[in-house]
Amino acid sequence: MANTYLLVYNASLAAGWAYVAFLVANTVYNGGWTKEVYEAVSVPLKIAQSAAIAEVFHSVLGVVKAPFFTTFIQVLSRYWALWGIVEVAPEATSSGSLTLLKAGPVTLQLNMITLLFCWSVTEVLRYGFYAAKELGVMPYALLWLRYSTFVILYPLGVASEMTMVYLAMPVIRKERPLSFSMPNSFNFAFDYYYFCWIAIACYVPGLPELYFHMLRQRKKILGAPPKAARKIA
């Protein structure tokens, strides 16, 4: 029973994120850029990303073996990026960008498209991987991609998330959304602007830790490659 449920859940989310990826590609192909892309994906993106809360419950209820704390932090960070940053300042985050390098005709920049590209590709592979596991088939290509693409997509994705924060912060600073101040009957105050700074600070130790964890997983699951792989080939 749990297996059928997990298969349906993971397959639906893989499909949902594939649809997001398609919308991104299609909009860019038709001459759209960050603003048009976000308009196109907004609804399916919010549904697919918000559905990830189920993974926290899976972990609590023991439906999957994933550790609670790690799952919780991962889902929380995505919720924050989507609902706490992008949706708080949709105008700023979907029209701005951060240019890293400009050399002649080549411009390297982080923006809404790089963010959605990283998220959707990662999630299609991740949910596709879980769905395949429930089916009991594991194409090596899928296994390899699941444990390899993060090497680039993870840092690029986090850099894109931080770009969104960078773009949203002036708005948050000015409008102070989700904040309340003294006096009130709880005798408590909350300033979302400073909360965001603390959240950013949490990325600093979190990022390398998760990245090295994933690298170790990669080594464990894909084995000790180059040498051995070449021999077989």
């Binding site: 003294m182 006096p183 009130n184 709880f186 005798n187 408590f188 105050a189």
Partner: protein
């Protein structure tokens, strides 16, 4: 007859070339002292020796400080696994700093509001509830420091140095968090009369908590490390009655000051205490299983009647 023990790291590397010669009837402590002489960096409390994992064993047996080597069947040529526990620091040192911090940090907000609330030109006079709160808070942490030096007996002598920073971060941080809001110039103070009653009850919890600590002290003879079934003053019904009074006291503090951060503080504290209490309850039930002449651990609440 001296025997030679081979000391290896977990990866199987020999830590002391040629092994460590010790008398056959030596204790674990003698071995630690000898090891310290050979490896001056690793003082005894920093060392942990364990027996190599046997087939089917998941957790290695660590050598207990007071035991004899012969208790573990160690013979000439036996192998021991050495682990460096990292820099160690005494329990009472950690406790002092983690309690001294809140004492100072909390009072700073009360006595120097112009520094901490710089945007307020006219800071109102302290409300009696805020004064009661600083008095209660200071009493509590003074009591803890007093208990550290004159009441508690610690089953372990030391802990890793990193705990000092972790614990101080927790206590000092929460002290600032709670104090900032309780002493805020725009603090909406609740009824003074109600606060008198609640703080009065909270003080009774403090006295009860001190009583439980004295009972716990007398369970363990000086220098002893064993466990006994606690009795009297709440312990007849609750395994960790000391936590019960501590938590009730802070709930009363939060209610008297009507400040959400104080409630957050006690929720975090109670969650941690619940983990410790559960472990202690399980340990006591395991030790006192009623078999082979051992006492049977009675049915008790773990920490927070009527819930837990």
């Amino acid at each position: 007859m001296p025997i030679t023990l081979s000391v290896q790291s977990r990866s199987g590397k020999e830590v002391v070339k040629g092994g460590i010669p010790v008398p056959e009837e030596a204790t674990v402590h003698d071995l630690q002292v000898k090891f310290h002489q050979l490896k001056p960096k690793f003082y005894p409390s920093r060392q942990r020796f364990s027996l190599p994992l046997k087939a089917g064993e998941k957790k290695a047996t660590s050598l207990a400080h007071g035991k004899k080597l012969s208790d573990y069947d160690l013979k000439d040529g036996s192998v021991l696994i050495f682990k460096d526990l990292g820099p160690q620091i005494g329990y009472s040192t950690v406790f002092f700093w983690e309690y001294f911090g809140p004492l100072v940090v909390y009072a700073l907000f009360y006595f120097f509001p112009s520094v901490f609330y710089p945007t307020f030109k006219n800071i109102p006079d302290k409300h009696p509830v805020q004064t009661m709160a600083v008095a209660y808070w200071s009493f509590h942490y003074t009591k803890r420091i007093f208990e550290t030096f004159f009441v508690h007996r610690f089953s372990h002598g030391t802990m890793p140095l990193t705990n000092l920073f972790k614990n101080c971060g927790y206590y000092w941080g929460f002290a600032a968090f709670v104090s900032y809001f309780v002493n805020h110039p725009l603090h909406t103070t609740p009824s003074t009369q109600v606060a008198y009653v609640l703080f009065g009850l909270a003080m009774l919890c403090q006295v009860a908590n001190l009583t439980t600590h004295v009972i716990q002290r007398n369970l363990r003879p000086p220098g002893g490390k064993g466990y006994a079934i606690p009795h009297g003053f709440g312990f007849d019904y609750i395994t960790c009655a000391n936590y019960t009074f501590e938590i009730y006291g802070w709930i009363l503090f939060a209610a008297a000051t009507w400040t959400l951060p104080a409630l957050i503080f006690i929720t975090a504290g109670a969650a941690q205490m619940a983990i410790w209490a559960k472990a202690k309850h399980a340990r006591l039930r395991k030790i006192f299983d009623g078999k082979d002449g051992r006492d049977m651990y009675p049915k008790r609440w773990i920490m927070l009647p009527p819930f837990f």
